[in-house]
């Protein structure tokens, strides 16, 4: 078993998962020394009934909560100012974000402001520039959550943040919040998580603790994603995926960023595609390339992907190849399970040679086997479905 010479791992996120998990919120806030949380949600959370569930969870608690459920998909600094004033004027002492995406990013960046002053959000943009713990932050993931929401990353108004202090104190994964979403959203979220977990398991910074989170995430995705895409009524499957996505976010926060992540993210941005679908289609190809360059942890990836029996019965020199095949197969099964919508997106991707070069450059991958030409080649192969 691989053990680095030295490693560090930090995951401050407590996980409460399962039936009536939200009803634990008053108790958990008390443990965080907070009594008056401000709930932040996207502008579609209300109509999906998610805000109502949170309100119900506080019904018997005697606690007063504030709710802002108008976070748009691309919020700006004005929203932070507005929420900062609400937080301060109404005496809030903690933040709860429902779902991933912009609501979680808003809560994280707002947390920088309310833990200090609004101007801090400029000075703290970048890597590891937050120097002390922030106010209590709780994330309530939904099916669309990619795991970013529990990670150390935040993206807001053109700024990127990375700090362990941005990770929430608690993630509450409740089946009432992991509601059915459309197949593309569900698949894209899970494929981001799968990419993060697989690259944590095989890449730089790998360590036994991050491995445990990644291993669990990969297993849960492999056991549930195709089923859920085929039948969104699979409640247990959706809960399992939400767990997987959150755990992948924890692993991802403790390792270096991988190539499929970097390329997929830029490709999604430049081509207007869900980044998860980009990362997913790139992942097996990146692994194949790493394999041919001697990437030696890829064989181990077969274990969480396929389980003890398949791992044990696959010849040692075939394990890495088999791992990549299984991810290719997963992508095919996803397309099949959902009547071809996902595969049509993949098929319809029109990436010109110029854009492709642009992605390769902007992704900032700087590894021996992945120079700009190498990256462009992977992107070309993915585009052509090879």
């Amino acid at each position: 078993m691989y053990l680095p010479e030295r490693y560090e791992f930090f995951c401050p996120v407590k996980i409460n998962s399962g039936k009536r998990a939200l009803e634990q919120l008053p108790f958990e806030l008390d443990a965080l020394n907070a009594r008056k949380p401000l709930v932040i949600a996207g502008n579609d959370a209300g109509e999906k009934g998610l805000v109502g569930v949170i309100i119900d969870a506080f019904k018997d608690s005697g606690l007063a909560i504030g709710i802002h459920d108008g976070v748009p998909s691309a919020p700006d600094l004005r929203l932070i100012r507005e929420l900062f004033n609400i937080y301060r004027d109404r005496g809030h002492d903690a933040l709860i974000a429902i779902g991933g995406g912009s609501a979680a990013d808003t809560a994280k960046v707002l947390n920088i402001a309310v833990s200090g002053k609004p101007e801090d959000i400029e000075g703290c943009a970048g890597e590891n520039l937050i120097k002390k713990p922030l106010k209590p932050l709780i994330i309530v993931p939904t099916t669309a959550g990619t795991g970013y929401e529990v990670s150390k990353y935040a993206f807001f108004a053109g700024r990127d943040y990375a700090s362990h202090f941005l990770m929430p104190n608690l993630a509450v994964i409740d089946p009432r919040m992991t509601i059915p979403e459309d197949a593309v959203t569900t698949a894209a979220a899970a494929l981001i998580a799968l990419t993060h977990a697989a690259e944590a398991y095989t890449g730089a910074g790998k360590n036994p603790l991050a491995d445990a989170y990644a291993y669990t995430a990969i297993q849960l995705i492999m056991e549930n994603l195709v089923n859920v895409i085929g039948d969104q009524r699979d409640k247990n499957g959706r809960l399992s995926l939400a767990n997987a996505n959150a755990l992948a976010g924890c692993a991802f926060s403790n390792v270096a960023l991988g190539v499929a992540h970097k390329l997929g993210k830029v490709m999604g941005d430049l081509c207007g595609l869900p980044p998860g679908l980009c990362m997913g289609m790139l992942l097996p190809r990146v692994l194949e390339r790493e394999m041919s360059e001697g990437g030696y942890h890829i064989a181990d990836l077969l274990l969480p992907l396929a389980g003890f029996d398949t791992y044990a019965s696959t010849a040692a020199d075939m394990k890495a190849r088999r791992a990549a095949e299984i991810i290719h197969d997963l992508l095919k099964d996803l397309s099949a399970a959902n009547g071809g919508v996902i595969s049509r997106i993949w098929k319809d991707i029109q990436v010109s040679e110029d854009t492709l070069q642009d992605i390769a450059q902007r992704a900032g991958v700087n590894e021996a086997s992945f120079d700009i030409d190498g990256c462009a080649k992977i992107l070309r192969e993915a585009r052509e479905g090879r």
């Binding site: 490693y7 407590k14 409460n16 998962s17 399962g18 009536r20 491995d211 445990a212 291993y215 669990t216």
Partner: protein, 415 residues
């Protein structure tokens, strides 16, 4: 993989692990805005020269404000109180706990008193009685076994009132643990074997008992693998740095696993043998582990079977028919005990009849088995065991574990 209807998982301890990580202590204290730590340790750690290793690694970059090295092998309320006084007198602002389970428990106890400005520790015993963060505590384990560097529990004994107080709270999790292979290099073979089997019992019970969850499972599997790969190696060759790091990581992983999924009858009986006869915890775990798996086989044999993969490796797993895997795991654990017995010149006991104290006296006289069974009935850990046990069941298991013979499957209750 089964997703439990409800589970919680928490390990907010920053984990710093490797061959040369003690040097990270000053930076870690600084991150916690601590400047005046008190070192809590015991005479054994000092005698092994390990305090010097830590002090040298810190290299004058931190004002070590107090060093308390009189923690007894069994945590003691009086010592906790007196060390808390020392902490206050010297104006310390944080704790460095360097040692095994008792040192960690003691440091956690001191931390409750100095953080809560309490005089009566009892007021904070039980589950979730603590309501806020304590002073910074960094745990530096010198055994690879207890996992206390990542657990939320502390046990403090009041020897005057014959009371054992248990404290359970996420606030008892250390802020960081610094797990350095240098700290276990001098651990003698018998202690290495016993503490290593303690870690294995954490991993195995976490994986096979009732409160498991997918994330604790992954920690348990990794720990089991590392112990199977390294325990015999480091017992035979204590200076094996790689092996020591493997065991240290295993103990941390196993600690996280059982801290988040609880344990079962192996611990129930182990606590009881410890409290009735004073047998070291790790030795009890080593002896009892195969019996716990045998007893619960009809309930969790499918889970025990899966452990053959990390214990024996993929080829053996694949070559063993499915229905024989659980028995193979039990046989492997017994073989581990046998090999450790040989590697320690007979000091690693394989069954209770063999457990001897320092003067060579039998530690578990057969006539004490009923007391042990009686004590086990009052231990809370039994509620996470897959199959029930009453007094007769406990006694039946203890008799077999005393003799060193497998359980008579006909005598196991099947609820």
């Amino acid at each position: 993989m089964d997703m439990p209807a409800y589970y919680e998982f928490c390990c907010r301890v920053k984990i710093i692990s490797g061959h040369d990580v003690l040097e990270r202590i000053p930076a870690t204290l600084a991150e916690l805005t601590a400047r005046r730590p008190m070192i809590v340790t015991d005479k054994g750690v000092v005698g092994a020269g390990l305090i010097n290793v830590v002090v040298n690694a810190i290299g004058g970059r931190v004002d070590i404000t107090a060093i308390a090295d009189d923690v007894p092998p069994d945590s003691d309320l009086r010592i906790v109180n007196s060390l808390a006084r020392l902490y206050r007198e010297k104006g310390c602002d944080s704790l460095l706990a360097i040692g095994g389970g008792s040192v960690m428990d003691t440091a956690k106890g001191i931390n409750i008193i100095v953080s809560e400005e309490a005089d009566d520790l009892m007021r904070f015993s039980g589950a979730n009685a603590l309501k806020r963060a304590l002073r910074p505590l960094i745990a530096i384990p010198t055994t690879a076994g207890t996992g206390s560097e990542v657990t939320l529990v502390a046990v403090i004994k009041d020897h005057e009132k014959h009371l054992k107080m248990a404290f359970v709270s996420n606030f008892l999790l250390p802020n960081a643990c610094v797990v350095d292979s240098r700290m276990t290099l001098t651990l003698p073979p018998a202690a290495t074997a016993a503490t290593g089997m303690d870690a294995l019992s954490h991993a195995v019970e976490a994986y096979t008992c009732l409160a498991k969850n997918p994330l604790s499972d992954a920690h348990a599997l990794a720990a089991t693998r590392l112990i199977s790969d390294n325990l015999l190696k480091v017992t035979l060759n204590p200076g094996d740095k790689e092996g020591r790091l493997g065991m240290a990581s295993a103990a941390t992983l196993a600690g996280i696993a059982f801290g988040n999924s609880m344990v079962g009858m192996v611990h129930t009986l182990g606590h009881s043998v410890g409290s009735v006869c004073g047998v070291p915890h790790g030795a009890c775990m080593a002896i009892l582990l195969p019996y716990g798996l045998e007893y619960n086989m009809h309930k969790n044999g499918h889970l025990t079977a899966e452990l053959l993969f990390p214990m024996a490796g993929a080829p053996v797993y694949a070559a063993t028919p499915k229905e024989e895997r659980a028995q193979a795991v039990i046989a492997l654990i017994r073989r581990m005990n046998q090999e450790l017995y040989e590697a320690t010149g007979g000091r690693h006991a394989r069954f209770f009849k063999e457990a001897l104290d320092r003067d060579g006296r039998e530690m578990v006289p057969k006539e004490r088995l009923p007391d042990i069974a009686e004590t086990a009935l009052r231990d809370g850990s039994i509620s996470y065991n897959p199959e029930d046990l009453d007094y007769d069941d406990f006694l039946m298991v203890m008799e077999a574990a005393w003799e060193g013979r497998p359980l008579d499957t006909g005598l196991i209750r099947k609820g």
